[in-house]
Amino acid sequence: MKVLVAVKRVIDYNVRVRVRADGSGVETANVKFSMNPFDEIAVEEAVRLKEAGATAEIIVVSIGPAQAQETLRSALAMGADRAILIQTEDAVEPLAVAKLLTAVARREGVELAIIGKQAIDDDANQTGQMLAALLDWPQGTFASKLVLEDGRAVVTREIDGGLETVSLALPAVITTDLRLNAPRYASLPNIMKAKKKPLDILTPADFGVDVSPRLVTLKVEAPRQRKAGVKVADAAQLFDKLKHEAKVI
């Protein structure tokens, strides 16, 4: 069985993100990028499946700029077998990504797609669901546990107020939540080997997918700074402020 894992190159989670002065987006020049943490969990899960003998090959896919090769190499260093970069300098939206992944999944004949539940840059949380719809596969989103048995994927999902377990017929789409696993450190020999693993570079046009944006970003602004509080003299003043200034009572 082949597994497809999608990874996204995002601003590193340690970076304090700054909004561009013109409000067109966030500052990306000279900022550290790394693999979306949820995708790292997806790679780790696939590698564990491979170590358990449940899958023969892990194909890792990224859609993004040339530098996304570094992200793919990180996934290869963790244990993925080969990589595909669908290179585009344009901003890609979840639907375009889902269409491209659909095309890759069909072309490669994969039976399981594992991807992060969302990317920490735009927090869209849409790609996995759209991918499942386009492929017409069942989906197990927000997975905190994944077991493959008897040709089915048993997925424990984190939902409001508890855990839900679903059993999916394969092929299926799984999206990963934080508690699914703790990604490993890539070993030095695997980092060295990753450089020699195959990495194909294609374009959206190769799959006949139009990635032009369908959404228009009007403005990006930083959250308003919190103002310092004020001390009130007594309960009467507090009541007055709540009633007339905050207008909450």
Binding site: E70, Y185, A186, L188, I191, M192, K195, A228
Partner: protein
């Protein structure tokens, strides 16, 4: 809680921008060492250091090692961390691929070593000593010994030690008494006691391979009668599996000021079976192969701790609110200004910063020469690199560890009482840094090595490898207005160094005690000039990058400001060092012994 993030941006600056490390990939055997490979290696190393080794640093210091029935227990978490480190392939990072190593360039490995030292020096000593043993065995061992022991040392499933010191012999190894008696089967039986053996006994690996200096029965007296032997804790069967316990035991572990999680052992050899490494009576030569590399590595310990202490001090200075800026309130909305506004706090922080970044740059220059020495096929380039390394080794070892100690001391001072108490981990840095000035040859010995062995060698040939590039740099930039601010002070200090070198050359031959009296100050003078040269070069690179508008103006401007600080506030120390050297050593040598 210690704060440390590996300074990856500055490391890349040193490796690629300052020293053109990408060119190393043109050397035979280093073809893979391109930025595309080195970057992920140092990034992953940074993760392991920050997330696995750093959290065990203070707990390891508090707990220390324990000796229980002859077995040393490392602190909680060390076994798991070592397993992760070993399974990650980090023990073999700079070893030959022929024995399972990863063959990473020395200059990239030096960056990883620095991170390990910043995160957890005690932990780093275990694989560090193994690497020393690897190196001695790799260079001088027979094919059979290498085949049997090297793959396991590279893998890290076995570790190594270097057994030199005995109760009556430290610096003067000619006094060593451990005996080795030849056996009919070609092995030897060793008897004696070694002390201060780092990683001599511990619970991290299934076997420990000791490299031991000892005397054969027919050995000449003194230093020319020392041979090197390999003595395993457990004998190794023909098939490579672990056999019977050898006559090696741990008699005690030392209770010491710092590096408490590193087991410093008394090791007793009682008729222990061993094998000769290299030729009889040529043990010192073999030992020095290891020792020279170790001295460069010890220098990195000073650098690593300076960096860690700097980061801790900066974080505190930004948060600690006390008093108001002398030029008027800077943060009116706060109850007081953070102490980072005060000039004296900035003096300490910038001294630490210029130490860490300067030493990283200088260390990077030397590390690159090690790569050239190990890989070049050009005999002239190889000899030049060897000369340069020979000259700079005592400087890297003593200068980095002295400045590292001073930096960790400032780190405490910035934090005041909070630096002195244990909670923040700042006082551990100074205790850990202290040993680096002592082991692998005290810094006094390094100074004597520089003055006694390195200056005069081959009619001053080693010196050229430093003096020529500095002189050429000064000439090239003599009329460079933009660099004047950095080149002028460098020139002034360089002249002092040349004059002091001339003075030592004149008096040193006829009156060796004069050279001995000046040695430590001369090494510091030399080291400061070497740092000044690196700072001037960093300024040169930074100015070019600013012109290229790479978008990282903050980084390069900070470099220029730190370079200016170093030139104005640190380099003038060369004036007092020069005066003291030129005053001669009579006040030292003529002081009546009885009056002490």
């Amino acid at each position: 809680m210690a704060t440390y993030k590996a300074p990856l941006r500055d490391m890349r600056f040193v490796l690629y921008e300052l020293h053109n490390g990408a060119a190393l990939a043109q050397l035979p055997g280093l073809e893979d060492m391109t930025p595309e490979l080195i970057d992920p290696v140092i990034e992953e190393a940074a993760k392991v250091c920050e997330e696995v080794l750093l959290p065990l640093n203070r707990s390891g210091d508090e707990e220390g090692c324990r000796l229980e029935n002859g077995v040393v227990r490392t602190p909680k978490g060390f076994i798991e961390a070592y397993r992760l480190f070993r399974e990650g392939g980090w023990t073999g990072i700079a070893c030959d691929p022929a024995f399972g190593g990863q063959g990473v360039s020395h200059s990239a490995n030096a960056l990883v070593e620095e991170m390990i030292c910043s995160s957890n020096l005690s932990f780093g000593l275990y694989p560090g000593l193994t690497h020393g043993a690897y190196k001695a065995l790799y260079t001088h061992g027979s094919a059979a010994l290498k085949e049997r022991y090297l793959p396991k040392l590279v893998d890290g499933i076995w570790s190594g030690t270097m057994c030199l010191t005995e109760p009556q012999c430290g610096t003067d190894l000619g006094l060593s008494r451990t005996k080795a008696v030849p056996q009919d089967d070609g092995s030897y039986r060793l008897t004696g006691t070694k002390i201060f053996i780092s990683a001599g006994e511990h619970d991290l690996t299934e076997n420990i391979i000791h490299l031991v200096l000892a005397r054969l029965p027919d050995a000449p007296k003194g230093i020319k009668g020392i041979s090197l032997f390999l003595v395993p804790k457990f004998l190794v069967n023909e098939d490579g599996s672990i056999g019977a316990r050898n006559g090696v035991s741990c008699g005690a572990i030392e209770h010491k000021m710092g590096i408490k999680a590193s087991a410093t052992c008394v090791i007793n050899f009682d008729d222990a079976t061993g094998w000769l490494v290299g030729e009889p009576h040529k043990g010192m030569r073999a030992m020095f192969t290891m020792m020279n590399e170790e001295r460069l590595a010890v220098g990195l310990q000073g650098l690593g701790l300076a960096e860690a202490s700097y980061q801790g001090a900066v974080a505190y200075a930004r948060e600690r609110l006390q008093g108001r800026s002398l030029s008027g309130t800077k943060y009116p909305e706060k109850s007081a200004d953070p102490i980072i506004v005060h000039p004296d706090i900035r003096r300490m922080l910038l001294t630490m910063r210029s130490t860490a970044e300067g030493c990283r740059a200088l260390g990077g220059w030397v590390a690159q020469a090690v790569d050239v020495q190990n890989h070049t096929s050009d005999p002239k380039a190889k000899r030049d690199a060897e000369d340069f390394i020979a000259l700079m080794t005592p400087i890297v070892k003593a200068l980095f560890t002295d400045l590292g100690f001073e930096a960790t001391n400032l780190g405490i001072q910035v934090m005041g009482g909070h630096g002195y108490i244990r909670e923040h981990g700042m006082e551990q840095y100074i205790r850990d840094a202290r040993i680096a000035q002592i082991y692998e040859g005290t810094n006094g010995i390094q100074a004597l090595d520089l003055v006694g062995r390195k200056l005069g060698a081959h009619m001053g040939r080693y010196l050229r490898q430093f003096f020529h590039p500095v002189a050429a740099f000064i000439t090239t930039h003599a009329d460079d207005k933009a660099l004047e601010r950095y080149v002028d002070p460098l020139t002034k200090a360089f002249v002092r160094l040349q004059q002091a070198t001339g003075q030592l050359a004149r008096v040193g031959l006829s009156r060796p005690e004069e050279a001995g009296a000046a040695a430590s100050e001369y090494l510091r003078l030399f080291g400061l000039v070497a740092l000044a040269y690196q700072w001037a070069r960093m300024a040169e690179v930074s100015l070019t990058k600013l012109e290229e508008k790479t978008g990282e103006d903050d980084f390069y401007r900070a470099k220029l400001s730190t370079a200016s600080y170093f030139m104005d506030k640190v380099l003038p120390q060369t004036g007092s060092l020069f005066a003291s050297i030129m005053a001669g050593g009579a006040t030292l040598t003529e002081f009546p012994e009885a009056a002490f």
